[in-house]
Symmetry: D2
Subunit: 285 residues, 4 copies
Amino acid sequence: MRSGLILKLSSPDQPGIVAKIASYVATYNGNLIEFSQFSDQIGKKFFARLEIDTTELNVDVEVFKTNFTPLAHSLDAKWHFRILPYKMRTAVLVTKTDHCLNEIIWRSELSELPIEITSVIGNRNNCRAIAERSDLPFHLIEMDGGKRESGFEKIRELLIAQDVELIVLARFMQILPADFCDEFSGKIINIHHSFLPAFIGANPYRQAYDRGVKLIGATCHYVTNDLDAGPIIEQEVERVHHFHSPADLSRLGRQCERIALAKGIRYHVHDRTLIDGNRAIVFPD
Amino acid sequence: MRSGLILKLSSPDQPGIVAKIASYVATYNGNLIEFSQFSDQIGKKFFARLEIDTTELNVDVEVFKTNFTPLAHSLDAKWHFRILPYKMRTAVLVTKTDHCLNEIIWRSELSELPIEITSVIGNRNNCRAIAERSDLPFHLIEMDGGKRESGFEKIRELLIAQDVELIVLARFMQILPADFCDEFSGKIINIHHSFLPAFIGANPYRQAYDRGVKLIGATCHYVTNDLDAGPIIEQEVERVHHFHSPADLSRLGRQCERIALAKGIRYHVHDRTLIDGNRAIVFPD
Amino acid sequence: MRSGLILKLSSPDQPGIVAKIASYVATYNGNLIEFSQFSDQIGKKFFARLEIDTTELNVDVEVFKTNFTPLAHSLDAKWHFRILPYKMRTAVLVTKTDHCLNEIIWRSELSELPIEITSVIGNRNNCRAIAERSDLPFHLIEMDGGKRESGFEKIRELLIAQDVELIVLARFMQILPADFCDEFSGKIINIHHSFLPAFIGANPYRQAYDRGVKLIGATCHYVTNDLDAGPIIEQEVERVHHFHSPADLSRLGRQCERIALAKGIRYHVHDRTLIDGNRAIVFPD
Amino acid sequence: MRSGLILKLSSPDQPGIVAKIASYVATYNGNLIEFSQFSDQIGKKFFARLEIDTTELNVDVEVFKTNFTPLAHSLDAKWHFRILPYKMRTAVLVTKTDHCLNEIIWRSELSELPIEITSVIGNRNNCRAIAERSDLPFHLIEMDGGKRESGFEKIRELLIAQDVELIVLARFMQILPADFCDEFSGKIINIHHSFLPAFIGANPYRQAYDRGVKLIGATCHYVTNDLDAGPIIEQEVERVHHFHSPADLSRLGRQCERIALAKGIRYHVHDRTLIDGNRAIVFPD
């Protein structure tokens, strides 16, 4: 990952907005590596992601960030700066299956995902080995037998203590409490093993088999209070045939899940996503 | 299309069934070009499609067909023979949009679809020109203002008078009466402009936009009384992005609709489909 | 297609370029609908496509275009303005097969492609009927028996007389003369029925069959003197199996050809392509 | 994996062959779970893969296998039986990059690939850690500085000593000696990081970048003496854009490589492939 600065911004759409932002960068001698933007003609909003080479910046980068505030306010914008290179502190929540966890670990080891996995948290012990062989701390937090509420409170404390910025539900088979969703809004990414909005809820591969679909899929999305209904970041599909059993669909779908989740996380940690109500703006790389 | 004979068969699964059928063919000196089959380990059923070269057959093809009856009964089978080459008598029902109709006409002109279009039936006049420039009879049958019931009765009479075997709903924007669905069960193919079971009902591209999906699709399926819920023959998808408006989705989706419908019809008229409850066995070519 | 103005521009990359261009637009009260851009970090070049809503422009659009010249020169840019709505004058060259021609006609009738087909030119008569049934003039220009050179001269004269801006080779089975390629450089789009650079030259589906590939494809590209080697605009693939004969590959590939060609033409006539040596920058919609 | 028996067979095509084989199975009370077959109308050959439930077999399975010989000879067939469940003894050859190795290990741990990895062999030490953390023996066999010939001799001895049945080149960056290819003919599977036959040889992602393709791919194939030209088992593609650098293509392509290789190995170890000259018959699951 290059050094530099990323600016994410959303605001009401208005003439001259690109000129104002680009001129601000130019004034301080920043060099635009990328200026992805979207003028939403339906919602009348503006979304942008800038990547700025700060090598020749004529002020300190903190001054550059601070001085942007008046312009941002005049645009009625929400904005966020990130100094590169950066590794996002990430917790991975799991239950039994480990393929999504394995994918995340592998891609972070390979530097495809600039994350630092602060902990792997499971309500079962199944994924302990795969976490620990990569020297990642594994926390068993039980949820059964009336321990659900206290379990989520423990998770919450751990996330806060570790200053976690991203929570990945890597086939975590528990529905999150509403206040948990609210507290970490925009910071929780889930992988659902169907092509949403088809097959919401439990056992989507069985549902897909029963419906006789010819393509199965997986959906990576931000988590909201509304089950499986948050903003979609990425979706993948795989062709299937009449001879595939529910177990076959599950096997074939694992690949979709791994790819959709890995891409979704990458877009998020590279600040390539902006949430707009129930939709996600994604500038892919 | 080659000359020869196609046999479609479904039955309870049982040991020795392939041997019995293949031996029957061999006894009469038929040559198997293709013997696609599926032993459903879950439903305990057997499905097969045989294509037989009858050049060296040692009896008349009608004798071959008739003599098969005792074996079929002993297998408790449902079966169907078709003598090739064959053109299936087909009616196409349309409303306003013409891209699916155009695709069907073009593929039949090119011999990709072995069908004879007996008539194009519209509840609007929009598709008249495209039908008539290919010398296909166009029938306007009005449905509005209380004419729906009589309209479907007129369609029914036309289909029977023309001895139609296949009814294609090529973006026909009327829900079929239940008794109509029953009368032509297994003979009506629809194209729905979403990736079913997502976005059942009206305006699926608008629904897809509102949900913020990253892939849109189209589904070709047999029509049953249950809206958009019949056995799926084929599905296609296309990747979309945040910058696509509902009109863009509609434009991009047309391509999916055309491909899924054309493939679905092809599989049906080549006897490559078998219906099993709400699922379709499809042996693609 | 909206009214407004499109600006295509390429130049050496340099800091401040986005600010300068966007500020120019803002000065004259133009509203940016889209500002797609690419800062090529390898080639050190800058590519952009702007779509400008000119409703509130505070000068005449011709003044706006003219006054841009000094800025463009200072950037050492190549640039091009297009006033919308616009229909590009297009000639389609064909030989025997008609599926690509049919696709282009159909998409232009449906307003998916903003083109005006000035003529269909064939070195065979096979496509005459499909052109004429849509009231398009068909010109038979023979190429066999020593008539190739004079044939291309006739085509050249026709293109110039009709002020043609885009020449589409829709399965035109003749290699263009070098001077013809040069004269219409950047204005000729071809569809090659393979996944280039695999299977250059004649009979690619037979080559694909012999090689036993598991995916076939089609490539839409600008034509240069170097056979099948010009800048690629779009590619499509389709999965195939061992049981597909060369004729099957040809049938399945037609779909890839139609889609890749239609998309490639759309990108070109919407000014969404910029040629950079042997590569094409494409901002898809 | 179920218990039972797999029969792979290829022979000249001839009438009655399915009947003879299926009748043989029925005679001994075997139950056909799957009878995939292909009558090649061009090459006049027959290919089949049978999966037989042997629970009710009325003879010992070894008798069943032995007694098949006269029939096989009468058909002039090549054939192979495999008793299930089965784990294929597999060596993985690597150099520097580890993503393909990781994929194979992960899928075998998850029982998606019924293989026993007897050893990981590298001509660099880069992949040692990833092998050893899964308790797989890693062998460093140096190839540089004149040690290539002796290196391959060491590998050969190791493969024979360990009774290896499958050799996977998981991004192994050495060209195999001709006699090595011959000795293990049909038992070596390679992943090439391009969409063959495009970009044969070194650095295919750089070649793809230079050519400006819009889709990149990976090809899993059997290894022959002819570099990157053996029978293709599986291919995968991924869409790319002008803004992707060669490094991006390499990143995106890793996913194609992992999927194509994993699928190719799965088809091979499930006996779903038959080699026919330079083409591979593949009955996918």
